[in-house]
C-alpha cells in the first residue's frame, strides 16, 4: 500500500546521488535528498538524522539500508514537516518592520547570515541573485515567496 510507494520515492531520490550504483551516497548529499522528498529540516535536525544513519566509523558515505528505515519513518510520521507558506510570508513581514513591502539586501543579509542557522556568504549571494530586483536593488519578498513556494520551481 502506501508503504511501498513511499519506499520507491525514497529509493528514486537516493539513486540520483548514488553515482556508483552501489547503494551509497556521499553524506554531504543527504540534506539535499531529504529536502527533495519534501521535508524541511533545520540544520540541527539534519545533523541529528545523519548521526542516526551514519556508519559506526563515519566514512563519508551513507548506505541505503540505513537511510531507508529512518527516512520512511520521517515520511510516514510527517516529521520535519513543511513550513506553511503563509508563515514564510509572515517571516518576511516580521523582518519588514516598517511594512514597506520590500527589504533592503543589506538588512536581509544581516538577518540571514547572523541569525538562526546562518547562511554562508555563498548561500546569501545566491539567494540575493534570485530575490533581488536588480533595478531597484530591493527584495520584493511577496514575489520571492511565491516563487519559492511554487510546486516545482521551474
Amino acid at each position: 500500500w502506501q508503504n511501498d510507494s513511499v519506499q520507491k520515492k525514497i529509493r528514486s531520490a537516493f539513486d540520483v546521488f548514488d553515482h556508483e550504483q552501489n547503494q551509497t551516497v556521499d553524506v554531504r548529499e543527504i540534506g539535499t535528498i531529504i529536502r527533495s522528498l519534501g521535508r524541511f529540516p533545520t540544520e540541527a535536525e539534519l545533523h541529528d538524522v545523519i548521526a542516526e544513519i551514519e556508519e559506526e566509523e563515519p566514512a563519508g558515505f551513507i548506505r541505503f539500508e540505513k537511510f531507508l528505515p529512518t527516512m520512511s519513518r520521517i515520511l510516514m510520521e510527517n516529521k520535519l514537516r513543511p513550513v506553511p507558506e503563509d508563515l514564510l510570508l509572515q517571516a518576511f513581514e516580521v523582518l519588514d518592520q516598517q511594512k514597506k513591502g520590500h527589504l533592503d539586501p543589506e538588512e536581509l543579509s544581516r538577518y540571514l547570515t547572523q541569525e538562526g542557522d546562518p547562511f554562508s556568504q555563498e548561500e546569501m549571494e545566491e539567494m540575493l541573485s534570485a530575490a533581488l530586483d536588480p533595478e531597484k536593488n530591493l527584495i520584493f519578498y511577496r514575489d520571492f515567496v511565491s516563487m519559492m513556494t511554487a510546486d516545482e520551481p521551474w
Binding site: I34, R39, V83, A130, M148
Partner: protein, 750 residues
C-alpha cells in the same frame, strides 16, 4: 535549535545590531527575528535542494548519453575488428573499412616531408587571414589569436607549416615532461577544452598568455565537440614552439583520429579545409601520437589526462615508444608473422555476446577481457595483412612466415596458438605490447571511483575505475604527492577526491549546455598547493540565476532524452507490451521504469524523471504509453517517422552511421555514392544484427533523393539528425528533396 555547531567559524552569530535603524521605533524582538530567519532559511534551503535534485538528474542524463556514445563508438570499433577477421579479403564490406586498419604511417619518416610539404601551396592574394612567418614570435601568435577571435581561418599552407614544426619538436620530447617551479614560477594547468575557443581565450584573459613567466600545462582533449578545435590546436602548438620549455601538452583520449571520426574534429577540419583537410588530418594523426603522455612537476605532482590503474608504472611509460600508439583504441602495429589456425580465428557463438549490451555495465572493455580472448583480440586487430588469417593451409602458412622472417625480430606471437613459432622471444614482445598498450589506455581513459580497488571502466568501454587505495599506492610508489587529471566534466570545473590526492580539472565551461557547468584552471606554485580559478564563458550565463540555469539545462537534457525515447519507440513498445499482455495500453509506473531502463540502458532514475518526461499521460501510478508516444509525436510533428522502422533505426544510430560514412569516404570528399550508402547500411545492419533487404535500402535511398546526381553530401544528410525542437519534419522534408531545412541550432550533444 539555534546555530549549528558545524558552521565554519566566520559565521558565529553576532549580537543583532541594527545600525541603520532606530532600535526604538523598529524594534524587532531578537527572538522573533531569529525565528523568522530560521523559517526563511529552512525554506530557502529546501528550495535549493529541489533545484539541486533537478540539476543532478539533468547532469546524469547528459553524462549517461555522452558515455553511452563513447561505449557505442568502441563497440562499433570492435565490430569493425570483428569484420576484418571474418570477411574474406575479397568482401566489399571489408574493403570499405580496411584502410583504417592499415598502417597509418604510410611513409617512412624520410618520405613524409615531401608529402606534407607546405611549400607547394600558394597563398592567394585575396586571402585576408593571418600570415605566419617562421620562426614564430609572440607578436605573430597574438595576431593569430586576434584573427581567430574574428572567426578567420589560418591558411592551409601555414597550418601545414606550423604542424610540421610542431611534429619536429614533439618527437624530441620525452613521454613524460618534467617541469620545475624554480624561480618561484607558478604553473597553470588547464583541463579539457574540447574545441571551445571562448574558454581558452577567457583563461588567457584572466591568467595571461603563455610565456616564460606564465608556464602552462594543457591536459589533453583539445579537440572534438566544440567548433574551434583546429584553432585551439594551432594556438597551443604555436605557443609551444615559441616557449618549448614553458608550454606542455599532454595527450587526451580525444587526440585520436578514430575518436575524431565520431566526435566532430574530422568533420570540422574537412569543412574548414576542403582542399587540404585530408593532409592536415593525416599529419595530425602523427602529431597526436607524438604528444607526451604526462607531465610531472617538481617530481611530486603528476598530471595526465584520464587517470591511473593498479598497474600504472611510470618507468614503463617513460620507456615505451609512444608514437606507435596512433590510436589508443588500437593495439600497436606489428608485422604479421603468423596466422592462427582457423579454429582460433573463428568465433564461437557465445562471442557475439560481446557486441550486445545486456546490462548497462556489461560491455566488454578493451583491456579487461579474459586473458584468452584478449590474446585472440590482439591478434584479430593487428594489422594489414589479413589474408594470412582466413582459409589458410599449412603450406601457405609457412610461406607467409618465411616472408616475414626477414623482418624485425619483434614478431607477434599468440600464446595460445598451437603452431610453433620460430622466434623464441616474440612471446615476450607480445606481452610488452599488451602491457604498454594497457598503460596508455589506462592513462587516457580511466576515471576515479570512491570504493577501493580497480575495475574495468565499462561505462566508457576503456580504461579502469580506480579507488583511493590505488591512488595511495601509485603515488607512494612513485614518491608523488598529487595527481591532477581531467577527462570528466565537473559542475564547478574541478573536483577533489581520494582524500584530496586526486584533482580533476575541466576547462570547458557550459559543456553540456549553456549554464551547465563552470570551467576552471589550476595555479600551482613552489609549495605545490593547487589553487583553483573558476570561470564561465558568456556573460549572459553568469547572470542567469540558479533556477534559470537549471531550468535551461534541464529542458535541453529532457529534449535529448525524449529524442532517445522516440528513437527507441518500437523496442519500448515491445517492452511495455510484455507487461501489458492484453494490450490495454497502460502499465504501472514500476513496470514502465523497468522496461524503459532495459531498452535504453542509460542507468537513469526513471521514476524521478517520470513527471517531466511523461507528463499528462500518467496518473495514480499508471502510465498510458500509447498516449505518451502520441504526445511525443505531437511535439515532433512527424508521426510517419514512427512507422518507418528503417528511419527510426537511422535516427537512433545516426552517430554510428556518420562514423561509418566518414570511414568509407576515403577521399574525404564529403560525398558518398549510392553504392557506398548501400554498403554502409549493410555494415550497420551487420553490426546491429538486423536484417535489411536491398530493396529496403533502395527505397530509402530513393526517398533521400539520390537520383539527382548519384551521391549524397554526408554533412547535409547528417544535419537532418541535429534535432532541436521540431526536426523529424525536417528529416522527411529534406529526404523528399524538398526545400532544405534551416540549419538547426546546435542541440544537445550527440
Amino acid at each position: 535549535m539555534g546555530c549549528g555547531s558545524s558552521k565554519p567559524p566566520e559565521h558565529k552569530p553576532k549580537q543583532l545590531q541594527l545600525k541603520k535603524y532606530d532600535r526604538a521605533s523598529v524594534s524587532c524582538p531578537a527572538a522573533t527575528a531569529m525565528r523568522a530567519a530560521l523559517l526563511i532559511q529552512r525554506w530557502y534551503r529546501q528550495y535549493v535542494a529541489r533545484l539541486e535534485m533537478r540539476r543532478r538528474c539533468t547532469w546524469n542524463i547528459f553524462q549517461s548519453i555522452e558515455y553511452s556514445g563513447e561505449q557505442d563508438q568502441i563497440k562499433l570499433y570492435n565490430f569493425f575488428g570483428f569484420l576484418m577477421d571474418h570477411f574474406t579479403p575479397a568482401s566489399s564490406e571489408r574493403n570499405l573499412i580496411s584502410h583504417i586498419f592499415r598502417e597509418s604511417e604510410v611513409f617512412q619518416d624520410a618520405e613524409w616531408e615531401p608529402y606534407f610539404c607546405y611549400k607547394s601551396i600558394d597563398v592567394p592574394d585575396m586571402y585576408t587571414g593571418p600570415h605566419l612567418t617562421f620562426p614564430l614570435t609572440v607578436n605573430i601568435i597574438t595576431e593569430l589569436v586576434e584573427a581567430f577571435k574574428h572567426k578567420q581561418h589560418l591558411h592551409a599552407r601555414y597550418v601545414l607549416q606550423l604542424l610540421g614544426e610542431t611534429w619536429r619538436l614533439l618527437r624530441i620530447l620525452p613521454n613524460i615532461n618534467e617541469v620545475s617551479t624554480f624561480h618561484s614560477k607558478e604553473i597553470t594547468i588547464c583541463g579539457d577544452l574540447h574545441g571551445q575557443l571562448e574558454d581558452l581565450l577567457l583563461v588567457f584573459y584572466k591568467n595571461g598568455l603563455p610565456s616564460v613567466e606564465t608556464p602552462y600545462v594543457f591536459n589533453g582533449d583539445f579537440v572534438d565537440r566544440g567548433k574551434d578545435s583546429i584553432e585551439i590546436l594551432l594556438i597551443l602548438f604555436a605557443f609551444q614552439l615559441v616557449y618549448p620549455n614553458d608550454v606542455h601538452l599532454n595527450r587526451g583520449n580525444h587526440e585520436d583520429h578514430i575518436v575524431n571520426l565520431r566526435y566532430g574534429f574530422t568533420k570540422e577540419v574537412l569543412g574548414k579545409y576542403r582542399v587540404h583537410g585530408k593532409k592536415i588530418l593525416k599529419l595530425l594523426q602523427k602529431i597526436f601520437s607524438w604528444l607526451p603522455l604526462a607531465t610531472v612537476i617538481d617530481q611530486k605532482v603528476l598530471i595526465l589526462h584520464g587517470g591511473i590503474s593498479d598497474t600504472t608504472d611510470l618507468k614503463l611509460i617513460a620507456k615505451l615508444e609512444r608514437n606507435r600508439y596512433v590510436s589508443a583504441l588500437r593495439p600497436p602495429k606489428r608485422p604479421q608473422a603468423l596466422s592462427s589456425s582457423d579454429g582460433n580465428a573463428r568465433f564461437s557463438g557465445g562471442d557475439w555476446d560481446q557486441y550486445s549490451i545486456v546490462g548497462r555495465r556489461r560491455v566488454r572493455s578493451l583491456t579487461h577481457s579474459n586473458p584468452a580472448s584478449s590474446r585472440r583480440e590482439l591478434q584479430r586487430r593487428s594489422l594489414q595483412n589479413y589474408s594470412t588469417r582466413t582459409g589458410h593451409n599449412v603450406e601457405e602458412e609457412l610461406r607467409e612466415r618465411r616472408r616475414w622472417a626477414g623482418l624485425s625480430a619483434s614478431c607477434e606471437r599468440i600464446h595460445d596458438l598451437p603452431s610453433s613459432d620460430s622466434d623464441p622471444d616474440s612471446g615476450e614482445v607480445l606481452e610488452t605490447d599488451a602491457e604498454e598498450w594497457k598503460q596508455i589506455v589506462d592513462m587516457l581513459w580511466s576515471d576515479p571511483m570512491s570504493q577501493d580497488g580497480c575495475i574495468p571502466n565499462e561505462v566508457r568501454g576503456g580504461g579502469c575505475y580506480w579507488g583511493p587505495d590505488i591512488t595511495e599506492d601509485v603515488l607512494n610508489r612513485h614518491n608523488l604527492r598529487l595527481l591532477i587529471r581531467s577527462h570528466e566534466c565537473k559542475q564547478d570545473g574541478y573536483e577533489f577526491c581520494h582524500n584530496r590526492r586526486v584533482l580533476t580539472i575541466f576547462s570547458a565551461s557550459n559543456y553540456y549546455e549553456v549554464g551547465s557547468n563552470r570551467g576552471a584552471y589550476i595555479r600551482l606554485g613552489p609549495d605545490l598547493n593547487p589553487h583553483v580559478v573558476q570561470y564561465q564563458a558568456s556573460r549572459s550565463t553568469r547572470e542567469l540565476t540558479l533556477r534559470q540555469s537549471v531550468g535551461r539545462t534541464e529542458r535541453s537534457a529532457l529534449r535529448a532524452l525524449r529524442e532517445q525515447v522516440f528513437a527507441h519507440k518500437s523496442d519500448l513498445t515491445s517492452a511495455y507490451e510484455e507487461f501489458d499482455p492484453e494490450h490495454t495500453g497502460v502499465i504501472s509506473m514500476k513496470h514502465w521504469a523497468v522496461a524503459t531502463e532495459t531498452v535504453l540502458q542509460l542507468g537513469l532514475p526513471w521514476r524521478v524523471l517520470r513527471e517531466q518526461l511523461v507528463g499528462d499521460s500518467t496518473q495514480d501510478g499508471i502510465i498510458n504509453y500509447n498516449d505518451w508516444f502520441r504526445e511525443l509525436a505531437l511535439m515532433d510533428p512527424n508521426t510517419e517517422l514512427a512507422h518507418t522502422g528503417l528511419l527510426e533505426t537511422m535516427y537512433r544510430h545516426h552517430s554510428n552511421l556518420e562514423t561509418i560514412f566518414r570511414i568509407i569516404d576515403t577521399d574525404h570528399s564529403g560525398l558518398i555514392s549510392f553504392e557506398e550508402f548501400r554498403q554502409t547500411w549493410k555494415l550497420l545492419s551487420s553490426h546491429l544484427k538486423m536484417e535489411i533487404s536491398d530493396k529496403a535500402i533502395s527505397d530509402l535511398a530513393l526517398s533521400i533523393d539520390f537520383n539527382k546526381d548519384g551521391s549524397i553530401d554526408i554533412n547535409e544528410f547528417m544535419e537532418a539528425f541535429r534535432l532541436v525542437d521540431c526536426s523529424h519534419a525536417q528529416i522527411l522534408i529534406s529526404m523528399n528533396g524538398g526545400t532544405s531545412p534551416d540549419p538547426p541550432q546546435p542541440s544537445s550533444p550527440s
